[in-house]
Symmetry: C2
Subunit: 239 residues, 2 copies
């Protein structure tokens, strides 16, 4: 097996950004979290018992004896191996800039339901979540989406790829963010829909990519739920 993905079972979460790239690249991989002793195996690495390259958190990838953590770092590693990055280093650095902007965006999306941090449950920070989400939906969400829309519109090579005229990891990640936002904030995303022609074209194009289409229709694609990154709390999705 070429690649081993370590991520918590039960949620698509941040692991799904890696899973989508492995699936798009038709890689052979094991998904440890879904195996019977998966959680123990993840913890062995996080405890520092399996490698000196101890990751701080999941997801992490084991490949060629190397442990690589953080979605953006994993995708930068996988991109060239799976044909999902540009050929030249300038474009790859640009893809990585965009990928890290997506990482920041995802953190802000997560923090709408966890403004007081990861140590407390949503139910313990509901009032604060309502305040944080209100400014997020009004200011930050349109700012991030408008940014990616502008990148797509001004890309001289393609209007449905972020970089050059080929499918790269960062397109797939933006697709997943849109999937997650439509789950979490359906009302708000509906009101923004008409302003996002480039993002909608990218979303449709990634969705139609044959290996991903097959994956979406398989049981390996996990549904969103209210334990993960993208959570649908109707009380937060308000004007």
């Amino acid at each position: 097996m070429d690649y081993v993905l370590y991520y918590w079972p039960g949620i698509p979460g941040r692991g799904e950004f890696v899973r989508l790239v492995l699936e798009a690249g038709q890689a052979e991989y094991r998904d440890i979290g879904l195996e019977p002793d998966g959680v123990e195996q993840i913890e062995t690495f996080l405890n520092g018992e399996a490698s000196l390259q101890t990751p701080f958190a999941a997801p992490f990838l084991l490949a060629e004896g190397q442990v690589i953590s953080h979605v953006a770092n994993i995708l930068r590693f996988l991109g060239p191996k799976l044909g999902l990055t540009s050929e030249d280093s300038v474009s790859r650095d640009w893809e990585h800039s965009l990928q890290l902007t997506i990482a920041d965006f995802v953190t802000e999306i997560h923090d709408t339901h966890h403004p007081l941090g990861p140590s407390l449950y949503f139910e313990e920070q509901k009032t604060e979540s309502m305040r944080r989400t209100a400014t997020f939906l009004q200011e930050r969400l349109p700012l991030f989406l408008g940014y990616f829309e502008q990148i797509l519109t001004t890309n001289p090579a393609s209007h449905h790829h972020l970089v050059n005229d080929r499918l790269t990891c960062v397109d797939i990640s933006l697709f997943q963010v849109i999937e997650g936002l439509r789950h979490a904030f359906p009302r708000t995303m509906e009101t923004l829909d008409g302003t996002l022609p480039g993002i909608n074209a990218l979303h449709a194009s990634v969705m139609a990519f044959p290996p991903l289409k097959a994956y979406m229709n398989s049981s390996r694609r996990q549904p969103f739920n209210e334990n993960g990154l993208f959570r649908h709390y109707p009380i937060l999705d308000q004007p």
Copy 2:
């Protein structure tokens, strides 16, 4: 001039992680934010008027016609050019994993005074900051510091370098985080001091590196203040 750094004037902030690496590598660079029309020049890039590789936010670096954003991405680009990274790709990926953990740590440190997001002032979210900071200081801070302490302790090549036995960008970044934490939370950092022999040794070793020692004593080194990332609000630094 080889490198041009774009970052807001008046705060060390995230730009300081880049500045420290440029200084450690004795690079020739311009610091645009400190020039008379610096803010306008930064905004020209953020508005998409100067390059199609539009960054979402500062800091970003202009080098060889390329625009590179995000501290971790900038340092991954500068490391090989300035001799501040390992020779082999496995170690470089490991450095990048650690660098991205530092990015997450820095975001959590920032969010202690901005739990409701970047759209509101600290004064508008003071009560929430007190709740968020309490769990941060009790749980997250020891978790992150304990993680880096463990990486230092188990590095077979050196106990005051995170990767191999040489100074790399990620050592310099961890140094700056410790500087910032000692400014922001002096009381709490004092209580943790005895548990951090590896981190203290790394801090001392980075501080003594001649180009950085010279920089620290120059007027180019900006002091922390209450507009930046690492803010000292005594009300937050409580047991």
